[in-house]
Point group: C2
Chain length 607, copies 2
């Protein structure tokens, strides 16, 4: 195997910093200082030091060894990208694979030092490391950023102006939201909140930013007390309009960097501060804890009340979302028509196809940005759940296989996420059996009936069982929450059969929206995923409880060429036909081109 | 409403004891000193003081108020039995109903005293009460048994000879089991085990007893150390044969009451003792903790390793169980034939029918006892999940409704549990829709495919969704584990969509057996339950994991008169027909009577 000399040199530089700082191991998470899912280039140290570009992964570097931990979505991709770097791949949650904590507890020697940037490590991770390495008396060094010190060409912090979300679009003013949050805080016996997750702060104060690709958020912190609210944000991000709006809502603006001095000098007398172990950084908690104790305040760890308030969309948001999804669906349908009818006739590859789709989305009213980089994957590339074609490395789209496209946009009025897999040319019976299983799973979850109190763990099997019946599994959750003009992956709810470690299970509430995306991924062969976003709706309420169900938000034809009707149960066939009737009803009014209309009619015919 | 003077007088006597002992509230659980599910009469204080006879319930008595907490299986029954006692019914897990801890935390006044028998309250309950009542500085008085002091006619402790289980029947000798347990202990970094749950002790030492109705266990304790095993049991229970066998396995026998002095005087130096918060009594833990600390031992709370070892049946046990279930199924089928063909012709009521069934079971080879009191319920009585007909209070069985019979036996070679609901005469379309939904749920769970790691929380919806689709719910779990010649309800696994408070979720392992019993219960109208016991079996194993499924152990016709085939999905119809073919194949060889054979053929016909 060819050595990746770029990465090997970077790792050597990192190890010489580690030696100077007396660190035996160093841990580099994929994280900004806010535990965001997607991060600005400034924070992509893990990618810089090992070459793995996936959105989730943690690099651990020792003196003569390095390992990368990532989840099932990225196993195939990581293997490829780590080739020649000497970095060992740890497939999280696979049988017999140790966690980072387990690995370090086994391999570190008594009294050694583990270094990491305390601002980029959450309280949860930092405390769990401290706990699990206690027996070996491991010293934690978190004051300095070893990765930053070994990264001369590091990009600067991003800084872009914010924009406001009108009350018409938000459904609730910032003041009303702050009131709700304060009520929830008092239920948790707290009266102050240190907010560090960017989506939560943007939601609370009704603004958006542009500091992170594909997520319209700004780098910021917030501190909400009983009678005050403070937003910490780079001065270059605050427009005049924003300054005025924040002033009107009694939100004080301070510079981003001042969060540290604010926490260090505040008098916490009479304050019980809620913080979120999953999002607050290990470094900030040390400062907060020390000062709070010194001034008579107290701390309580818990979920940010903003998390659930933001996840349960209000009626205004839901109305906007439904409209946005129909427009987005119609546009994607036009693109699918183009691929389906032109594959093999016009030249197209994964990159040009994605560019075409992205530019079509950009034409839609209210378009802000893509909600994530479009996954445009043909053939075996689609077996990588989060594959990204690049100009250097991509495949042609040809009429002899499956083409998977997972894409979405953020618009004024909502964030979309949708996956379709197209059958191009002839495919085998086996492919159709697999395709049909995935469609069955998607429809079964979407069509289910449940009761209030259920979490995603109760529901996951509905989507997954048709895949399990084939002795296969997809190594990821079935569904995730979706933000409102925010992150495309937003909790606290999700649909998984087992929770990620340390995750709190959240019941599925009416007004939440969630993805429904079972799949089949066969390494080296093909990948199938069908993803709709669902809205949680109320059914009957009686002495037995509040019954709930789902309604589709996504209205895009499912490729009937992939479906073998003999595998469909009667109700699945009914659901499929009803869904396709819904597609016609909603998107045809937005499609003028006669030939596309005719294609949609055919693509959504009754089976 | 007529006053229940018997109960009122008993409560008055209890209150006068409470006054003497300076208790403001007293708590009376349904428990022996081992947290057994079914208890000997000696321990039925809760029933004595409030009249409620269900198997699960906790009575709390204040100076001028009393309340009973019970679960959904017993809401209707408890309401009936508490009538005229003034005892308030708290429907556990219903919306807005406080838990006992919440109730006491709200209603007890600063500094008051809560009394209970510390031997009859588990560590978990005792500690949670102490914790939740801490803010009000409630004193816990657990040295004396207030109920016992107010109960002059209390029956004595039961004491019956034990009997041994041969290695042929157990599959593993007591010595082999002790070795397994010690290995599991060392995985948990412990080297001693205080065992207080009766089923676990009987399983470990391969014996059974007769101290509790319907559960063949003896009152006992056990202490397993690295090089010793001690069984505490009343001397009147040890036969010569047993003494010899225990001697051969190096199990020392001491008197039941000596557990206290043993724990109080042991030197725990070098011992780490595992105890189970769910089964150890609050009183014993105090003794253990004090002495262990004083002598340099340490304690660790955790699940008894016996629990999982006992739940995963070995191949010998499974073979015996399969045979026993077929014999039990054939016998029940004969009874169902009799009811189905004679209702309305011969006189029969709930009690005489149950007696007939019970006496038929008693004729089977290896019969030991019923595994629980037969539930024989006609019409609206079946809406009470755990209804028990009595000679004084029962209904006739008539050819104009549904008859539910839930029953089982313990035999040499297994414990059974099965429910069938019969349609007698004409029933409405609605009844058939409901009946079909219950059957569909049962079949869907039994026919499912899942992956190792799943717990009952992942699977429950498969059985329950057809009921939810009708905007109804059953207020209990879908399934429970079943013991091997032990308790009919045995964890640690179960099938529920949400766990009971404090319960640990256990993945479903191959070799476990579990019930599958969805139902519909309409108060004042009817109850439908279909219950099979399933064995967990292995499917394919590959890179995605170990796939699992179920096989039926129960082989009894499901009444086709209750089924409206138009509600069945195709695969459900297939499953039903396959199941009925299996019934014919397995039970016809055990049925000689031509007319019953003919009836079975008809009752299991293809639909």
């Amino acid at each position: 195997m060819k050595e990746n000399t770029v990465i090997l040199e970077r790792l050597a530089r990192l190890r010489s910093v580690m030696a100077k700082k007396h660190m035996d191991y160093c841990l580099i998470p994929t994280a900004d200082h806010h535990a965001s899912e997607y991060v600005a280039d400034h924070f992509k140290a893990r990618e810089y030091f090992c070459g793995f570009t996936g959105s989730n992964g943690t690099l651990v570097v020792g003196n003569s060894w390095a390992g990368l931990w990532t989840d099932g979505r990225y196993f195939i991709q990581a293997e490829k990208e780590l080739a020649g770097t000497g970095v060992e791949l740890f497939r999280m949650a696979d049988e017999g694979v140790p966690t980072i904590n387990e690995y370090l507890a086994e391999h570190m020697r008594q009294g050694e030092t583990l270094g990491f940037d305390g601002r980029a490590v959450t309280v949860r991770l930092g405390e769990s490391l401290a706990e699990d390495l206690k027996d070996k008396e491991i010293r934690i060094s978190c004051e300095e950023d070893p990765a930053g010190l070994a990264w001369p060409e590091r990009p600067p912090l991003p800084c872009h102006p914010v924009f406001l979300i009108s009350d018409d679009l938000a459904g609730l003013s910032a003041s009303e939201k702050m009131k709700q949050v304060r009520e929830k805080l008092s239920e948790k016996k707290a009266n102050a909140l240190l907010l560090t997750s960017l989506e939560d702060i943007c939601w609370l104060f009704n603004f958006r930013g542009d500091d992170v690709a594909c997520t319209p958020v700004a780098l910021c912190y917030a501190y909400l007390a009983e009678n005050s609210a403070t937003l910490f944000i780079q001065s270059g991000e605050i427009t005049e309009e924003a300054a005025e709006a924040f002033g009107a809502a009694d939100v004080e603006i301070r510079n981003y960097e001042e969060i540290l001095s604010f926490l260090k000098t505040r008098n916490y007398q009479g304050e019980t501060v809620l913080y979120d172990r999953q999002h607050l950084s290990f470094a900030l908690l040390q400062v907060l804890r020390e000062r709070a104790e010194a001034t008579g305040g107290s701390l309580v760890a818990g979920q940010n009340p903003t998390l659930l308030l933001k996840a349960i969309k209000n009626e205004t948001e839901l109305e906007k979302i439904r409209e946005v999804y129909i427009r987005d669906s119609a546009q994607l349908t036009k693109f699918l028509y183009w691929v389906k009818t032109n594959a093999g006739k016009l030249p197209m590859d994964e990159v040009t196809a994605a560019e075409k789709l992205d530019s079509m989305r950009a034409l839609l009213p209210g378009f802000i940005e893509l909600s994530f980089p479009t996954i445009s994957a043909f053939g075996e590339n689609a077996a990588m759940m989060h594959y990204e074609a690049t100009p250097e490395d991509h495949a042609q789209i040809e009429p002899n296989g499956l083409y998977l496209v997972d894409s979405g946009g953020t618009y004024q009025g909502g964030t979309t996420d949708v996956t379709r897999t197209l059958v191009l040319g002839e495919v085998s019976d086996e492919v159709r059996e697999h395709f049909t299983a995935v469609v069955r799973g998607m429809l079964r979850l979407a069509g289910c009936c449940f009761i209030e109190g259920c979490t995603g763990r109760n529901l996951d099997i509905l989507a997954r069982e048709p895949v399990w019946e084939l002795d296969m599994d997809y190594k990821c959750g079935t569904g995730h929450g979706v933000g409102y003009m925010l992150s495309v992956h937003e909790g606290p709810h999700n649909i998984r059969w087992r929770q990620l470690e340390g995750e709190t299970e959240t019941p599925i509430h009416p007004g939440m929206i969630v993805s429904d995306e079972p799949g089949i991924y066969l390494a080296g062969r093909y990948g199938i995923r069908i993803e709709n976003i669902l809205e949680v709706t109320r059914g009957a309420k009686n002495g037995d409880g509040q019954f709930l169900g789902f309604e589709h938000l996504t209205w895009v034809p499912i490729d009937l060429d992939g479906i073998d009707v003999s595998f469909l149960e009667e109700r699945e066939r009914r659901w499929l036909n009803e869904y396709h009737a819904g597609v016609r009803e909603r998107i045809l009014p937005l499609i003028e081109e006669e030939e596309i209309r005719a294609w949609v009619m055919e693509a959504t015919r009754e089976v």
